[in-house]
Amino acid sequence: MKKFLIKIVFFLIPLLLLMVLADFYITKKLKNNHEYPGEIEVWNDIYKSNINTDIAIYGSSRAWVHIDPKILEDSLNMKAYNFGIDGHNFWLQYLRHKEYLEYNKQPKLIIMSVDVFSLAKRQDLYELNQFLPYMLWNENIINATSSYKGFTFQDYYFPLFRYYGKIRGSNSILKLTSNENPEKAYRNNGFRGMERNWNNDLAKAKLNLNEYAIDVDSSSVNLFQQFLLECKSNQITVILVYTPEYIEGQNFVTNKEKVINIYNDFSKKHNVLFLDYSNDEISQERDFFYNASHLNKKGSELFTRNLSQYIKALANKNKDR
């Protein structure tokens, strides 16, 4: 028996070493990924501690493609970075914030992009591969992602396990690393202006979608309040921004007003500014969008200029006081 157990242990040691080495190799390759939607670039910047921004922009894809940090930088003379995470609600937007604070200096201003989906919570881990290179033994990622369908205990704590079933075939994660031009970044300071024309997503939605109500997730509401309290205690100014949304696409959600009221309540309760651009002039003009929820490059530039002017005016006003 003793001999058997010793042999098993000696058999497993090289295997464990091999697992660690393979994990290191795949992780390193995966971190070089620069393909759509460029989430890994943002995570890399966070963990390399090379952002240290003054203005942090948080939110979903509607933050990512709507708010150009370069325009903010030029206008406000402050460093800006866009942390928008595609397809995710506040739960994982908050993870970006937590991880950013852990590895970088805290920002002075947070522009928090909110919308009807921010306080809902999806079941699946959209674009799950983005977490793979950073999640091993990472308590923040474990806490933020374990309530989703996606990873299991062994994925979080054992080397290589999280890559199991993701290596061979057409969906291989190793293919993500075969970018012809690996040095070319997909996002710029976390932002990408979408040079796209209006597509038929809205027309399709009109045909296939009925009206629906957003299921506001109470844990997300609590987390959002916690986030606002934390920012307040750290003296970080937060501005909630409902970025433009094409007017014809706003009729699907039946309880939009209720969600907006939650943001209004946050604004009053925590003394933060809430800017609602959902009925702004930009929202009336289809030329600024590529679908009902997303501005194209032209729209995002115009919107960011408007936003930066507003913030600048506000800052000047505060100075005068």
């Binding site: 028996m1 001999k3 058997f4 042999k7 098993i8 058999f11 090289p14 295997l15 091999l18 299991t152 205990f153 062994q154 290589l160 396990f161 199991y164 079933g165 290596i167 061979r168 075939g169 057409s170």
Partner: protein, 482 residues
């Protein structure tokens, strides 16, 4: 709990260490641990159905005792029938209730009478067909006085619920497995190492061969009307290797796991795809089920005695019941009937026992004749698997008619094609290893005698890496649904 899950990878060493280090001095405690571990193993899937196993255990244990005390033949027969009815009653309710109901409704509707009856939303308890047959064999053997009934309830519970083979076999006979629970088990180093090796080979078959073939077989079978005849042939081939890798892989893991605990289970697969005729195939495929039907159905029906018509009838009965055992669907019944049709010519002409030895015994390569016979048998088997895999009987016939179209002679086209070529290579390597090891219990058995240590270890590591590298979705074992 699935053998190919992390849960089992944690569960097995815990039970192993408790078994050999904590309760090793007391046989009864070892058996208790096996029962407890088996119930945890089964309850991991759905604890509610543990009551079924427990009830089945109590019934057959009590009836076994009753049969030993009872001398009156008619009362003994009543006791036997109670066991048969209770066990088959559970099986019939959980597995066949909706099938019979739906078919009765259809039959009455055909004759113009409409019946309103709702089918029930019944969950099929995993492995019910396996443990039902195992306990039934005990009662029948006790009734026929081939076996002394046990008075050790714990040993009997362990025999019924023994976790390595509880949910998908091999279906063990009480005469083989039960006495092993009475004997003191001593740790046997070479047996344990051999068990580990067999587990590894079983995992390779399941994860690398079966799960990857499943992905393509599913795509092709589920969208069969969109594919050419040649692609459909490929789909049938993928399923052929899927079902073999899946089921024989499970059996290898079950046998290997049992060996770690000092038990010897029966060989369940003996390289069936190297058979030279269909009779040989059925001596090598799912051996524990085939021999069960032979001993408890075929022989009581008269077996090969009597006139030709009796023989034909018995062959058809055994294949149809075997098909129906697999599931409540006409596809399985057709599959059974087709195999009966394959089997009859060799049986009636008394050629069913021509190939009792291993093909090309002691040689590296088969003769041309053997090769042709193997191809023919394999081809017939692949064709029959279409019925087994099809969603329903119409799907099976449409699939077959789509094969025999002009597109049969075109180049196969399939989606996700970047892994198909590596998969062919993997299947080829798998077949070569199986061929080289075909005279053994499983392909890698006796490696210790034939291979030097560095090469052995290289192969083990290669298998483990390939399991990780080529591992696909974690698929459930096909035979769980039976």
């Amino acid at each position: 709990m699935l053998f190919n899950s992390i849960d089992f990878a944690i569960f097995l060493p815990i039970v192993f260490l408790l078994y050999w280090f904590v309760v090793n001095k007391n046989l009864r405690l070892q058996n208790c641990l096996i029962v407890l571990a088996s119930y945890v193993f089964y309850g991991w899937w759905d604890w509610r159905f543990l009551s079924l196993i427990f009830f089945s255990t109590i019934i057959d244990y009590s009836i076994g005792i009753g049969l030993s005390n009872e001398k009156n033949p008619s009362k003994r027969k009543i006791l036997l029938w109670i066991s048969v009815l209770v066990n088959l009653g559970f099986l019939g309710f959980f597995k066949y209730y909706n099938f019979f109901l739906d078919n009765f409704i259809s039959a009455f509707s055909f004759f113009g009478t409409e019946i309103n009856a709702n089918s029930l939303n019944i969950i099929l308890p995993v492995g019910i067909s396996f443990y039902t047959f195992q306990t039934l064999s005990y009662t029948i053997d006790v009734y026929k006085q081939k076996l002394n009934p046990t008075k050790d309830f714990i040993a009997f519970s362990a025999f019924v619920s023994f976790f390595p083979q509880l949910v998908a076999g091999p279906i063990e006979r009480a005469s083989n497995l039960l006495p092993q629970f009475y004997r003191k088990r001593n740790f046997d180093y070479s047996k344990a190492v051999d068990g580990m090796r067999q587990i590894l080979w079983g995992l390779f078959k399941k994860i690398v061969i079966a799960d990857n073939c499943a992905e393509y077989a599913d795509i092709i079978f589920n969208n069969s009307s969109e594919y050419s005849g040649s692609t459909l042939v490929l789909g049938a081939l993928f399923f052929t290797f899927q079902i073999y890798g899946d089921f024989s892989g499970y059996s290898d893991i079950a046998i290997g796991t049992s060996r770690l605990f000092g038990f010897d289970l029966k060989q369940n697969f003996n390289f069936p795809y190297f058979s030279r005729d269909i009779a040989e195939f059925w001596r090598r495929w799912h051996i524990s089920l085939s021999t069960w039907f032979r001993d408890y159905l075929y022989i009581p029906l008269g077996g090969s005695r009597g006139g030709t018509w009796n023989k034909i009838r018995n062959v058809f009965i055994i294949f149809l019941v075997s098909g129906f055992w697999h599931g409540a669907n006409w596809t399985f019944i057709f599959w059974g009937a087709l195999n009966a049709l394959y089997f009859l010519p060799v049986f009636i002409t008394n050629n069913n026992r021509n190939n009792l030895n291993t093909v090309a015994q002691g040689k590296y390569l088969p003769s041309i004749k053997e090769l042709l016979l193997m191809f023919l048998t394999f081809g017939l088997t692949v064709f029959a698997w279409i019925f087994f895999r099809a969603n329903n009987i119409n799907h099976a016939f449409n699939y077959i008619s789509d094969i025999f179209s002009s597109s049969l002679f075109t180049f196969p086209i399939y989606e996700n094609d970047d892994f198909v070529k590596p998969l062919f290579i993997l299947i080829f390597i798998f077949l070569v290893i199986e061929w080289l090891g075909r005279e053994q219990q499983y392909a890698l058995a006796q490696m210790e005698l034939k291979w030097r240590k560095p090469f052995r270890y290289l192969l083990y590591y290669t298998i483990i890496i390939s399991i990780f590298w080529f591992g696909g979705k974690q698929e459930q074992f096909i035979y769980f649904q039976f």
